[in-house]
């Protein structure tokens, strides 16, 4: 017997109640025989004590035996390969659904039943509403593990898993023997590879240039069409670039075709590779693949100004000289005092070294340049009028300017310079000095999608290229990115900007925070003629800088240009005030037109970290091109509008090994103590599921006072005490 609450307090209260009852009688003036008095006191005290004891909520332990039914799991593969029609005239999915619906009632008779559909993830479904097979990949092992984990604590009858066995997702690991569930696998679909022609990808450079030849690679595979001619065509928009014939010699072949194109104008271009559907082909979904590419202006005229001979000047100059279609003028400006009288070529206050006679820094001559690189030169050394001409070239004409950090211009007079607003970084206490210790540069989220830092065409390869970067040195610390600027690369140690970029009117500005990037070039040697990442960075940076940002105050940028249907694309929208300062309070509207031409509006939210930056998300349900348009206004004044596109490719992994993988299903069954059968024999596995139920002791506590007997006892005691008092004349 257990009592709730603080027992001693209740017992004390019961004693007090009994004492008070006795005292009430003892103080009475009427004489009553001692025996009767004792009875009355005893009856009242007992009633009071009993009432108090009931308040203690006395309980007693109880045990009950309960039978628990075994739990059976029914898992049905809902990936896209299940839509293939090779199951006696039916799709695999229809065959699987019919079989599942036929055995489900029989399973429910014997077991508790949970039904799941799975592809790249697992979810419970109603056996009568199984949905459709649209999963983009198949992860059978994770599905078994998750279903097993959800059934923990129940006696397991086993899991019936209906699938074509195309495990193509999830981490590589051993079969799910430790899940504790016997898996009875049911194979569906043809065990022989289907006939199919697939275009798996169009590999294109992330950026192409007007009137500059670019190489595009089309990859794919052909199964079951040995000796048959297949025509692969590449289109730019709707214009045919070229076609190539393939005649596979064997039943299963992959192909890689190289196309070349010379884009004629700037803008976004969609390259699509297509093959015509073949008779008896598995699916036509994978007969086309596409890539979206930005085409930028071609030839660049660049002016590189530095202050003194140094390795950085030589390295950057070499890298820029290797950029195709660049006309580079490089000039060193030294203070006149540094020149000895005999030094040649001139006493003009500078010693131009390359094409010296033709390089002029007079304001009128600057109008021919698309790109300016300012190195270790004091801004005071630049000729009068240079500053205004540079500002005009960048802000109004759309030229670019790169700032190579150097103490010569990062001096206390910088904030007074009219060039300072063009810098993407703010300086704290000037002059800043370089930290001579080594540091590791790290790509930021903004840098991962910025054209100037795309060292590889694929996002993951670009991440890898930056993560394998050699250590850099001499980073200028104490600088922060200005509002509206983007930090593209930062130091892992101090988070100081290493590369920062921003728009300046119609032009662009890039800050390089180390004065020794040459170490990168020297530490990562390459064979002559090979593409060095250092050179590649400068080529990308030069081209990005030299391409005008146009006068748009609204800029729409998809996070990536290529997605897979079913993925969600993040779209960034930047809004600028008329002076091209960020517009954090802008009202932004966005719409998307899907590949079927259907427009829909998009919810837009402001970035919490970057003022003037907004984002929206587009779920690319269908393959094809998505065009996102945005407009913005601030204070009732329209800021402008912009649009951009991205491409969603049909997911193809589900069709790459789209035959029934019997060895995998057999191995899964064997490793878990189950069995494998063809879907035609699905009924044969029902007897194999474990019938054994479990009996469990359920222990609980039962209340003792909460019954009529306790009430009758109290009422009886009080009634008897009242009757006795009445009889003795006390009532």
């Amino acid at each position: 017997m257990n009592f709730g609450g603080t027992s001693w307090a209740y017992l004390a209260a019961a004693a007090v109640a009994a004492a008070v009852s006795a005292a009430a009688y003892l103080r009475s003036r009427r004489r009553v025989a001692p025996g009767a008095l004792a009875w009355m006191i005893g009856l009242r005290a007992s009633a009071a004590a009993l009432l108090i004891l009931c308040l203690l909520n006395p309980t007693r332990a109880a045990v009950q035996l309960e039978r628990i039914r075994p739990l059976a799991l029914l898992l049905i593969d809902a990936s896209q390969s299940m839509s293939i029609q090779d199951e006696q005239g039916q799709t695999r999915w229809s065959a699987a659904a019919e079989a599942a619906q036929r055995i489900a009632p029989r399973l429910e008779e014997r077991f508790d039943l949970r039904v799941y559909a799975f592809s790249d993830r697992l979810h419970r479904v109603d056996i009568e509403r199984l949905g459709s097979p649209n999963g983009r990949s198949t992860d059978i092992l994770t599905a078994v593990e998750e279903a097993g984990a959800a059934a923990m604590g129940y006696p397991s009858a086993g899991a019936v898993l209906i699938s074509d066995g195309g495990q193509n997702a999830g981490p590589a690991r051993r079969l799910a023997e430790e899940s504790g569930v016997s898996v009875f696998t049911v194979g569906v679909g043809s065990p022989t590879p289907p006939r199919d022609i697939a275009v798996s990808s169009v590999q294109a450079p992330p950026v192409m240039f007007v009137e500059e030849e670019a190489v595009l690679t089309v990859e794919g595979s052909i199964h079951g069409y040995a000796g048959r001619e297949t025509l692969v065509s590449l289109f730019r928009g709707n214009a045919l670039i070229g076609s190539q014939k393939i005649v596979p010699a064997s039943e299963s072949e992959t192909f890689q075709l190289v196309f070349k194109d010379v884009p004629a104008k700037e803008g976004d271009v969609r390259y699509a590779a297509r093959v015509s559907p073949a008779e008896g082909e598995l699916t036509e979904v994978n007969n086309e693949s596409a890539a979206s590419v930005s085409v930028m202006r071609g030839r660049i005229r660049a002016l590189f100004i530095d202050g003194k001979p140094r390795h950085e000047f030589a390295a950057v100059r070499r890298a820029l000289s290797r950029v195709p279609n660049i006309d580079l003028s490089a000039v060193l400006l030294a203070p006149p005092a540094s020149l000895s009288p005999e030094s040649l070529p001139a006493q003009t206050g500078r010693y131009p070294l390359f094409g010296s006679e033709s390089v002029s820094l007079e304001p009128d001559a600057l109008s021919r340049y698309d790109l300016f690189i300012i190195g270790g030169v004091s801004l005071a050394q630049l000729p009068a009028g240079f500053h205004a001409a540079l500002i005009e070239a960048v802000e109004e004409r759309g030229a670019g300017v790169a700032w190579l950090a150097e103490e010569a211009w990062l001096n206390p007079s910088l904030p007074m310079s009219p060039l300072e607003p063009m810098l993407p970084v703010s300086t704290g206490a000037l002059p800043v000095r370089p930290d001579s210790s080594d540091f590791m540069p790290r790509l930021t989220e903004a840098g991962r999608r910025h054209p100037a830092t795309q060292l590889a065409p694929v996002l993951s390869e670009n991440d890898r290229a930056w993560s394998r970067m050699p250590l850099w040195t001499r980073l200028y610390t104490g600088l922060t990115a200005k509002p509206g600027a983007e930090t593209l690369v930062e130091s892992t140690r101090s988070l100081t900007p290493v590369l920062a970029a921003q728009r300046v009117g119609a032009g662009k500005s890039l800050f390089v925070g180390s004065d020794s990037t040459w170490v990168w070039g020297m530490a990562a040697p390459a064979e002559s003629g090979e593409e060095r990442l250092f050179d590649q960075f400068w080529a990308l940076a030069a081209r990005w800088l030299a391409t005008p940002a146009s006068a748009r105050q609204v800029v729409v940028s998809p996070e990536r240009r290529a997605y897979e249907a079913g993925e969600t694309a993040r779209i960034e929208i930047r809004a600028y005030l008329p002076g091209f300062q960020p517009a954090p309070n802008a009202a932004v509207d966005a719409t998307v037109i899907d590949p079927n031409g259907r427009p829909s509006s998009l919810p837009v939210s402001a970035s919490e970290s970057e003022p003037g930056v907004f984002e929206t998300f587009v779920r690319a349900s269908d393959p094809g091109e998505y065009r996102v348009a945005a407009s913005a206004s601030a204070g009732g004044t329209a800021l402008g509008e912009d649009e951009a596109s991205f491409n969603a490719a049909a997911p193809q992994i589900e069709f790459e090994r789209a035959y029934r993988d019997e060895p995998f299903l057999q191995a899964l069954a064997d490793s878990t103590g189950g069995a494998y059968v063809d879907i035609q024999q699905i009924d044969s596995i029902l007897p194999l599921l474990k019938e054994k139920s479990e009996t469990r002791e359920i222990r609980y506590r039962e209340s003792v006072w909460d019954n009529p007997f306790a009430l009758l006892l109290i009422v009886g005691l009080l009634s008897a005490e009242w009757a006795l008092r009445k009889r003795k004349g006390l009532a």
Binding site: K308, F313, S528
Partner: protein, 217 residues
Amino acid sequence: MRIRIGLTVAVLGFCWTAAAQQPFAIGQVHYGGGGDWYSSRTSISNWLREIGARVRIPVEKEARPVRLADRELYKTPFLYINGHGNIRFTDAEAEALRLHILAGGFLFVNDDYGLDASFRREIARVFPRRPLQPIPASHPIYRAFYSLPGLPKVHEHDGDPAQGFGVFVDGRLAVFYAWSADIGDGLEAGDVHNDPPDIREYAVKMAVNIAVYALTR
């Protein structure tokens, strides 16, 4: 607007202060084969001092001894080979030197007398498909800082005329070999070899030109 900018530029002119950059270093190559790679250390100190004074760039005070197989060779782009005897590179050293130069490094070789045959043999191992080429007097290396008519003839050696040879990488003169000139001796103090002042000055100017060329190409 132009007036305001002009005034600002004028203010900036007064505020300009000398700026420090990474000091220029000369890596003196510690090669094998028995030659006296360590010779003329003081000439390198003099050379660095003259570069600092004349070009007005920060320089290290002493030569920086390096081995070609050092992991951190890349931190010293400018390499210098000097001596009188035999030069021999291991295969690893030859490969390291080749990659160093392809990455943007520069090698200056001074014929002190006696290393010609072994250097030509070794550089042919480093760049088997890039033979040493004569460098004409019109080449920019002779005008990188001072306008010079060609190499100085500091020591007579065998009486042959001084001649520059080089290896080009992507159009850049990346290895410069001064044969029968002995610029290194010309960089020594006057009382070391008793060279005439005008010859020593010529050698200094050529040595400055070589460094400036390497720092600008």
